[in-house]
Structure formats: structure tokens, C-alpha cells
């Protein structure tokens, strides 16, 4: 097929002769002619993501103030190291022995991080916001060469579905943590505090984001060619499609909610704030 032809590698053109300024195209020196505030969305996106990365890095390495019974920070659950603080009935499994001296959050956060980093929405967000490929539509990107997701490391974006499978497990564990939020500090059921509501809102958004994933949409039914032969999977595909149309909204709201849930636990655990109790 002609698309497979590999052109001989020509010398890289100078910035003034490549892209929209390449010979043969309309001779316009400006790299773009957009007059709107095209720079605003990638700027806001980059600032938002940078703020979350900064906050979560601090909290992940802090290794403190992540459990205030009955609430556990979503950054530290499941807690897989020997050095975790004891959590009554929580997902506290010491798979990593005393030799693990770093924060237990580092063992877990890699999976949600991988899920979000390979997410089709976040890819768009950081390709535009951080890598400027492209910064906005019809705005020239600054790179001399572009190979997209055809090579290592970006070809690994195709592993998104595996992170999705793990994200389902993590969401299940966070659901369990949320259920434990209905126990009081002594482990007795029948408690509800503001923290319970924070965890409930967070887990609802986490599930909505996870299930709105494009890989999920593909797995539940998108890969079929005959929906008529699989009515249940077609119905599931339709439902996931409704969520999928709001994937960006859910990506941001769940990112913010998980940060707020962690911050809430931090404030309660550090003694800066008392959890208001409803019953």
C-alpha cells in the first residue's frame, strides 16, 4: 500500500520553511492567524494539572496524616506496606515488608496515575497543554519532528485498557473504604460525618469517570460488529456512551474530588479540623 512507502530522510527544513510555511503552500509568514484567546484552554489545563501533580506529589511522599478513623485517604488505599498505620478493618495489607521504607502511597498511586496518564482525555489535555502538539487547532506546533504514538515510549499508550482493569479494582477498594466511613472511630456501624459524604461524592465520581473510559466503552460492546446479536452488551455500550460523552467533565471532577477527599482526611488527621458528625 502506498501509505507504507518510506520517504528518504531529507534534511530537516528550517522553521521558516516547514509546516504551514512549507514551499507550495500559501505564502503567509505568521504561524497562525487566530485572533481568539486560543492560548487560554491549554494554559488553564496545564496549570490545573500542574497544581494537582504538585499537591499529590507532596501528599504521596508525606507518609503522614492519611488515616483518621474511619476515613482513609484515597491516595493511601489500599495500603500495601508494613509501615502503614493500622486501619480498623480497612484495606491494610502488608504485602511489602519492613524493607520498604518509603511512603506506601507510592506503591498504589502508580496505577491510578497510569490510568489517567494513558486516558484518551488526559492525553489530549497534556499533549496540548504541556507538549504543544498542537497547542490549539490550526496553531503551529514548535516541534521539528513528530511521530505521535508510533514509537516508544508513547506507543505504550495502547496499554490503557490494562490500567482500566486495575482501576476497576482500585475503585472497588475505595468503595469498601467509603462503606467503612459509615462506622465510627470504634468500628461500630451507624455513623455519618461530613467525611462520609466527602468519600461518597468522591467514589461516585471515581466510578463515573472509570466507567466512562473509552476502553470500557470498547470492551463492553464497542468491539462488536453486530449489536443486534448482543442486546445486553449493546445496552451496556449505550449507557457507557452516555457517560463517555462527559468524559472530560468526569475526568476533572473526579481529579478534584480525589484531591479534596485526601485534603479532608489530612485536615482531620492532622488535627486542623474536626469532622462534623451527623449521627
Amino acid at each position: 500500500m502506498a501509505t507504507g512507502t518510506t520517504p528518504a530522510a531529507p534534511p530537516a527544513p528550517s522553521p521558516r520553511d516547514r509546516g504551514v510555511r512549507a514551499p507550495g503552500r500559501a505564502a503567509i509568514t505568521a504561524p497562525h492567524l487566530r485572533t481568539d484567546r486560543w492560548w487560554l484552554p491549554p494554559l488553564v489545563t496545564a496549570l490545573g494539572l500542574a497544581a494537582f501533580v504538585g499537591y499529590s506529589t507532596w501528599r504521596a511522599f508525606a507518609n503522614a496524616d492519611y488515616y483518621a478513623a474511619p476515613y482513609v485517604s484515597p491516595f493511601y488505599s489500599p495500603c500495601l506496606a508494613h509501615n502503614c498505620v493500622p486501619m480498623k478493618g480497612g484495606a491494610d495489607w502488608a504485602l511489602f515488608g519492613p524493607w520498604w521504607g518509603l511512603s506506601p502511597a507510592l506503591l498504589v498511586l502508580i496505577f491510578p496515575l497510569g490510568f489517567r496518564a494513558t486516558c484518551y482525555y488526559y492525553r489530549k489535555a497534556y499533549y496540548r497543554g504541556f507538549y504543544a502538539a498542537p497547542p490549539a487547532c490550526a496553531v503551529a506546533e514548535p516541534h521539528a519532528k513528530y511521530t505521535g504514538e508510533t514509537r516508544f515510549p508513547l506507543i505504550l499508550q495502547n496499554l490503557h485498557r490494562y490500567f482500566f482493569y486495575i482501576a476497576l479494582l482500585v475503585a472497588g477498594i475505595l468503595t469498601y473504604d467509603t462503606a467503612l466511613g459509615f462506622r465510627d472511630t470504634h468500628g461500630a456501624w451507624g455513623h455519618m460525618g461530613l467525611g462520609t459524604l466527602v468519600l461518597l461524592a468522591n467514589i461516585a465520581l471515581i466510578w463515573a469517570y472509570t466507567l466512562s473510559c473509552h476502553s470500557c466503552r470498547h470492551i463492553v460492546g464497542g468491539r462488536l460488529r453486530h449489536f443486534s446479536r448482543h442486546p445486553v452488551r449493546y445496552r451496556l455500550w449505550s449507557w457507557v456512551g452516555v457517560l463517555n460523552r462527559r468524559h472530560m467533565l468526569l475526568a476533572w471532577s473526579s481529579l478534584i474530588s480525589v484531591g479534596i477527599a485526601d485534603l479532608y482526611v489530612y485536615l482531620v488527621a492532622s488535627g486542623a479540623f474536626d469532622d462534623p458528625r451527623f449521627f
Partner: protein, 256 residues
């Protein structure tokens, strides 16, 4: 009816060179950019070259860039601009220019020919095809395409990198592959053609970094990225990066 004088900048020239020329031109209520370009032809620039046909957003001929944004001129209302705003009209900047606002879009026809066409199922004669509506409605969204090539024009993979043109078919033709791969009667796989794998290997699907500019500029509001390109990437991942799915499909070749 009210009217006013608008300031237009229109690119004039050919492959040898050109520049943006200034025009003061009358604008009336309800007009679109193509109307103004036609008025320029009628009053001030009779040799201005512009490609157009239906004036209704259905033929895909009058693609251009208005204030730097890829758009159909016939579907860009003048009311979206303020009266003192300069309106800059240029040809699409991804394709070689022929003259003024007309570009050579033949690259797209080359890419179209490279997509293997629908393979009819064996034993079913034309006229005997029967498909459930629920099975074809995904593909029908892609059939709304009017081939204006605005998505091809705005895609940074080729807009900013001429060197990728041989390897990358672009969103319009990757969408065509998705359409055929989702077609309930396409029998390409029975003849050894796995369209999703071919999209990755032969048509440069991996170059797409799903930044959604194709979707943003589509005048038919086709969700190119969400409904065609990402599903195609997932289908390619089934075949190339998911050993479980690959193995399952080898063991049980279900007629999906």
C-alpha cells in the same frame, strides 16, 4: 435591513507567492463570509479565485480559514464578528495553493484510493443485503461526511509536518476505515485484511494523538475522535497489544 462596511484581508497569490490584501466591503444582515467573497468578486476583485458550489454546507467546496480557523465560508455567519473586526480569509494552509483561496486537495483523493473498499460477503448478491438498523447506525454517522477536508487541513500531523503525508491517511480516511470495520457485512477479514491492524500499520493511525481538532472543525459535527479514531485505536489494540483478545479471537472466530 442594516448594512455596514467591513474590513477584509484576503490572501491573493499562487504557488510562487502572494500576500494578504485589504478590502473594504459592504456587509448586509444575514450574510455569510462566502457572500462577502462573492461581493468582492463582483465589485473589486473579479479575478479572485474561490471554489464553491452549494452555499448550504453540504458540498464541502468552500473550505478556507477565517481568522485562522478552518471553516466552510458558506457556514460562517458575518454576525459572529464585531463590526470593527478585521476578517482575514486565507486558503487552507495544509495543502498546496493553486490560486487565491483555491488549494490542491488531490492528496486526499490519493489517500481515498489507498483505503480498500467494502468487501461484499460471499453468497449474498447485491440487493440481498439485510442489516439491522442498530448494526449500521454507527457507520451512518460517518456517512454524513461531506469531504470538505477541514479535518485533514487542521490535523497537525500533516499540517505541521509535510514529511508525515506519505505515512498518515488523516482523520477523514481513518474514519472511513472505522466505518468499514464496523460495517456488519464487510467481509474483508475473510480475505485476510484486518482493517484495524491495517489502519495502524499502513495508514498511520499511531500518528494520531487524539487532540480532537478534527472533531472541533467538522461542519457536520461528526464525533470523529470519540466515535471513529479512538474505537479504531482500541480495535488495533485488540489485535496488536492485547494477547488475550487476540488469542480468544483465534480460538473462537465468532461472527461478530
Amino acid at each position: 435591513m442594516t448594512s455596514y462596511e467591513a474590513h477584509f484581508k484576503v490572501w491573493r497569490g499562487d504557488a510562487e507567492g502572494g500576500d494578504l490584501r485589504d478590502y473594504q466591503v459592504e456587509v448586509n444582515d444575514g450574510e455569510v463570509v462566502l457572500d462577502i467573497v462573492h461581493r468582492l468578486q463582483a465589485t473589486q476583485a473579479p479575478d479572485l479565485a474561490v471554489r464553491w458550489n452549494c452555499k448550504a454546507g453540504k458540498c464541502g467546496s468552500c473550505s478556507a480559514e477565517v481568522n485562522g480557523r478552518p471553516r466552510l465560508m458558506c457556514m460562517t455567519r458575518m454576525s459572529v464578528f464585531t463590526r470593527d473586526e478585521t476578517v482575514t480569509v486565507t486558503p487552507m494552509r495544509t495543502f498546496p495553493v493553486v490560486r487565491d483561496l483555491v488549494t490542491d486537495v488531490s492528496l486526499n483523493y490519493t489517500k481515498a484510493r489507498e483505503v480498500p473498499s467494502f468487501v461484499p460477503p460471499e453468497g449474498v448478491a447485491p440487493g440481498e443485503y439485510r442489516m439491522a438498523q442498530v448494526d449500521v447506525e454507527r457507520s451512518q454517522e460517518f456517512r454524513k461526511c461531506i469531504e470538505c477536508f477541514l479535518c485533514q487541513n487542521t490535523c497537525h500531523v500533516v499540517r505541521d509536518h509535510d514529511e508525515n503525508k506519505p505515512a498518515f491517511s488523516g482523520p477523514r480516511f481513518l474514519m472511513r476505515i472505522a466505518e468499514l470495520d464496523m460495517h456488519p457485512l464487510d467481509a474483508a477479514a475473510d480475505h485476510g485484511l484486518t482493517r484495524a491492524t491495517s489502519a495502524q500499520d499502513d495508514h498511520g493511525l499511531g500518528y494520531c494523538n487524539i487532540t480532537k481538532c478534527c472533531t472541533e472543525v467538522c461542519p457536520e459535527q461528526i464525533k470523529i475522535t470519540d466515535n471513529a479514531l479512538i474505537p479504531l485505536k482500541e480495535r488495533a489494540a485488540d489485535r496488536k497489544y492485547d494477547p488475550l483478545v487476540w488469542l480468544g479471537s483465534r480460538i473462537r472466530r465468532r461472527g461478530q
